[in-house]
Symmetry: C2
């Protein structure tokens, strides 16, 4: 059993991007600039956005954090998005989800200029991904592909089972693993809340990508020997014995499943760190494409 | 065993649309207008486009056929597309594929205004489909959903196996069958040329959608009892005993598979006629959305 060490790989990627930024600076070029819009004061969102901004600073990107109050109207947010769309200094930006209930998430996603949509959530970019065109791949799926790639996990002709059909992980992952090329060329089964006999399906899987958010859902008896496990679940479980008051856990019963697996991602330290690294990678791509256009 | 009679259902849909057009005329409204661009003189393409135009005429739509020579340059075609994009009288249009080799198909698809893209091939529309937003669903997948719907074939929690990952049928079908709602909520496996042990997968399927283009590929021993079979394969097999010089056949060994199936589409007369009916339906939708915007 080998650990797919997302923390280590994410650090390698960040170091590669930082070296790229140094070259840009040495050539007197503008460095990538990522902006993030945060509406409200949700604790987890604050943590995620803060972490993204700090990562930008560490690798030499410019970054801008736009904080808006919880009472922000949809029109105010759309106006801010239009500002970032038109601001030529900003190469890419994200709108941290979830948004407060008075704001229509779909309208917001559609308002982001696809060329600056480094989250890859705009339907234009999602469609390009599904149609095998060059685009921004959403950071978490992109991170999973990168992890499989760097560990040279064989995916061709393998049976990949994806658990969960979210727009952010499950559905894009199910598309990406079945595309031509590497990592890809898998036979892909997408399972979800309406799936019957899920164990019967997971026990046939060569690769399982679980993005359900149910701690300990995937148990040893649900997988076959030598399975590859990608655990995308990130659940905060309250725990008063910890200083932070909670601990982070995934969808997989790691202790027992890891004994049968050939490769497995830990939680934390697996897919999580890759997500931020790939957001930075997308921002670098956005900068390069921006330069090519102008 | 019940035949999923695409010809019959397509005629019902056309009659419904014709009735809608009559109402539009009675209200003094503009009727839907579909345009088709045909580049070159490929026999099958001519047949398909001719059939689309005739169907428009029969149900009371306006239609325009733009024929361009085989030597048309990419720039000339893009200019024509821009004309149709800007022509307010035209609600939707299609560019018949395949295109001659001097023209980049991807550029052409991206040039079509997504609001007029009644084929649903533009990445913006494809992305909206994958993200569960309202859009134009490509005609063949839309036709399959409609057939399943009208025959009330249960899809929820069923295991649907899609054979073939084309942009036009396999991939969109794999997405649509796994979406929430009806028809949908299936556990979906997408198989393709790199899939190993395909029989092992198809024998587990409650529903099989085959879009491979290999005559007689799916045999009786590859399916379980009571399977639902949707045969999207349309292959012209040369046959000198026929007046046309060929006959049309699907991916499924109909004679033997039909004995085990609960529902099955014939070829011809199954999915084929549904495709044109749904193109007309999309054109009607395009007209309604066009009116709502103006």
């Amino acid at each position: 059993m080998e650990i797919l060490d997302g923390k280590k790989v994410a650090n390698e990627i960040k170091a590669e991007i930082a070296a790229e930024v140094d070259l840009m600076k040495a050539r007197g070029e503008k460095v990538p600039h990522l902006a993030a819009i945060l509406v409200g004061t949700d604790g987890a969102s604050l943590t995620y956005v803060g972490s993204k901004v700090r990562s930008c600073q560490r690798i030499g990107f410019e970054s801008t954090l736009v904080q808006m109050p919880n009472t922000t109207s949809e029109i105010e947010l759309l106006k801010k998005i239009e500002e970032l769309n038109e601001n030529d200094d900003i190469d890419g930006f994200i709108v941290q989800l979830p948004l407060p209930p008075q704001i229509d998430e779909q309208k917001v996603l559609l308002a982001v200029n696809p060329d600056k949509d480094v989250d890859g959530f705009h339907p234009m970019n999602f469609g390009k991904m599904a149609l095998d065109m060059s685009t921004f791949i959403p950071a978490t799926p992109f991170g999973i592909l990168e992890l499989l790639d760097r560990y040279k996990v064989d995916t061709q002709g393998k049976h990949t089972v994806v658990i969960g059909r979210s727009h952010i992980v499950g559905r894009p992952m199910s598309i990406l693993m079945g595309r031509k090329g590497f990592p890809g060329n898998s036979t892909v089964t997408l399972t979800h809340s309406r799936t019957k006999n899920i164990s019967q399906i997971t026990t046939q899987a060569d690769i399982i990508i679980s993005a359900l958010g149910v701690p300990g859902f995937l148990k040893a008896e649900m997988v076959k020997d030598d399975v590859v496990i990608i655990d995308v679940g990130i659940t905060r479980v309250p725990d008063e014995t910890r200083e932070r008051g909670y601990y982070i856990t995934g969808d997989v019963d790691f202790e027992n499943v890891s004994k049968k697996a050939s490769y497995i991602t830990p939680v934390p330290g697996g897919v999580g760190p890759m997500t931020i690294a790939m957001l930075l990678k997308n921002t670098l791509l956005a900068r390069e494409r921006h330069r090519a256009r102008s």
